[in-house]
């Protein structure tokens, strides 16, 4: 069949869609209904407010906050940074598989048995028992006050993936147009964007290993990012009430072969 005179795009509606599997459909709807109900109930029985929980968290993180609280930005920092996971780099394992979650605050997720078939581990929707906000609902992580405006095409609703670093360190990431946005996550306060990395067209990427190390009395967050076939290490630190990439340190460790080499280079 050769119809050079016909616009090939006009043929596109000719695709015959398959019908959804009724069993999968019923299970998915039932699971989503449960999540909806849990969300409603969670909203009515919310515990301490966000600010109260944040204050509790800050009280438990005095050591980390001490250098910052001394400044005039302490209150803003408390709302903005929340690097709780930075303080407990106890778990020695490297980053695990990514998990797909809804944007924060995430809905509760049904038990696996609610779905009619299994899912790949790296695409598993996971329960993120984050508390319901007391104010208006906002999807997605909160951008920094000085962050560029989000890409409205995707930033609002693209699901966030989560990877685990050392201890309870958790990083979120998601693609927005041609970049990979990284977030530092904390259960008490959601996510804080720490970086936005350009991604070549067609490439994919994700954070790899992530850990905290101390250097000159300061805590440095180190993240390995995989972009296509390449990997690069980046260093992040708290500066003037925000957490961001330290370009000098990042350049020093960018091509390190592994964590040990990163630590060695930063110790120099």
């Amino acid at each position: 069949m050769n119809r050079p005179d016909r616009d090939p795009f006009e043929l596109l509606p000719g695709l015959i869609d398959p019908e959804p599997d009724p069993g999968v459909m019923r299970a998915t709807i039932a699971a989503s209904r449960e999540a909806f109900l849990r969300r409603q109930q969670g909203g009515r029985t919310a515990g301490p407010g966000w600010h109260e929980r944040l204050a509790d968290w800050l009280r438990s993180r005095r050591n980390w906050m001490a250098p910052v609280v001394a400044g005039a930005f302490a209150a803003a920092l408390a709302v903005a940074i929340l690097p709780g996971p930075l303080l407990t780099p106890e778990r020695p394992e490297a980053v695990g598989d990514g998990e797909q979650v809804a944007d924060l605050p995430a809905p509760a997720v049904p038990p696996d048995t609610a779905l009619s078939r299994g899912r790949d581990a790296d695409s598993e929707a996971v329960a993120e028992p984050l508390p319901a906000p007391t104010g208006p609902i906002r999807m997605g992580a909160q951008p920094a006050p000085d962050a560029p405006p989000p890409d409205r095409d995707l930033a609002d609703l693209s699901p966030m993936q989560i990877v685990h670093g050392d201890g309870d360190l958790r990083l979120g990431y998601r693609f927005v147009a041609d970049r990979l946005d990284l977030f530092l996550l904390d259960e008490a306060a959601g996510g804080r964007q720490i970086d936005s990395i350009p991604v070549p067209p067609g490439a994919s990427g994700r954070p790899g290993e992530a850990f905290i190390l101390r250097r000159d009395g300061a805590e440095i967050l180190v993240v390995q990012t995989e972009l296509g076939d390449d990997t690069a290490w980046h260093a992040y630190e708290v500066t003037d009430g925000s957490i961001g990439r330290n370009e000098a340190l990042s350049a020093r460790i960018a091509d390190a072969s592994d964590r040990r080499e990163v630590e060695a280079r930063l110790a120099e």
């Binding site: 043929l11 000719g14 809804a102 944007d103 605050p105 779905l115």
Partner: protein, 182 residues
């Protein structure tokens, strides 16, 4: 088609359901999902060309709707909003799981599996879809929405959050890109 035609019910019905959903009515939420589940699944399938991935995306979207539905403010059509939610989930899958190569390899098999009588025509359609899926993202979006979903360029522009002329430009470029291939 991007229309509220899956359940032969009107936009008014959807509006009423949405009012009840916002009030926390789980039955209304379930009805809304039941009505739009095929829409989500078929949309995902068209973009991904793979049933299992389409089901994964549909599950992801449905779970997210339990929370995200409260964020629908009614300023756009519900189907346009839902289309965007689905499209975001599709893109996330494509990017994060690197399944595209496998999908592309399977589209041909799927074409013969799930297509009907005129095999030659259907293979031709599948071939076009496969090539369109390989276009740069914006070009692909524009072609899918205008030709695959048969939306007006204004509707496509609303979903892509750009101007109509930009949609035209992406389609023009897509045509140039595919001229030799098709």
């Amino acid at each position: 088609m991007l229309a509220e035609s899956e359940g032969e019910e009107t936009g008014d019905d959807t509006e009423l359901l949405l009012v009840r959903v916002r009030a926390g009515d789980a039955d209304a939420f379930e009805r809304l999902l039941t009505r739009y589940y095929p829409f989500i699944f078929k949309t995902a399938f068209r973009w991904l060309g793979h049933r299992t991935d389409a089901e994964d995306v549909t599950q992801s979207v449905c779970m997210r709707l339990a929370d995200a539905i409260q964020g629908f403010d009614g300023r756009s059509r519900f189907t346009s909003w839902l289309y965007r939610v689905t499209l975001n989930a599709v893109r996330d899958m494509q990017r994060s799981q690197q399944r595209r190569k496998r999908q592309l390899a399977e589209v041909a098999a799927l074409a013969s599996e799930e297509r009907a009588p005129d095999q030659e025509d259907q293979l031709r359609v599948a071939d076009i879809w496969r090539k369109v899926r390989e276009l740069p993202e914006k070009q692909r979006d524009a072609v899918f929405l205008v030709y695959g979903e048969q939306l007006s360029q204004a509707e496509a522009a609303a979903i892509m959050r750009c101007k109509e002329v930009t949609v035209s430009w992406h389609i023009h470029n897509a045509r140039k890109t595919l001229r030799d291939l098709l």
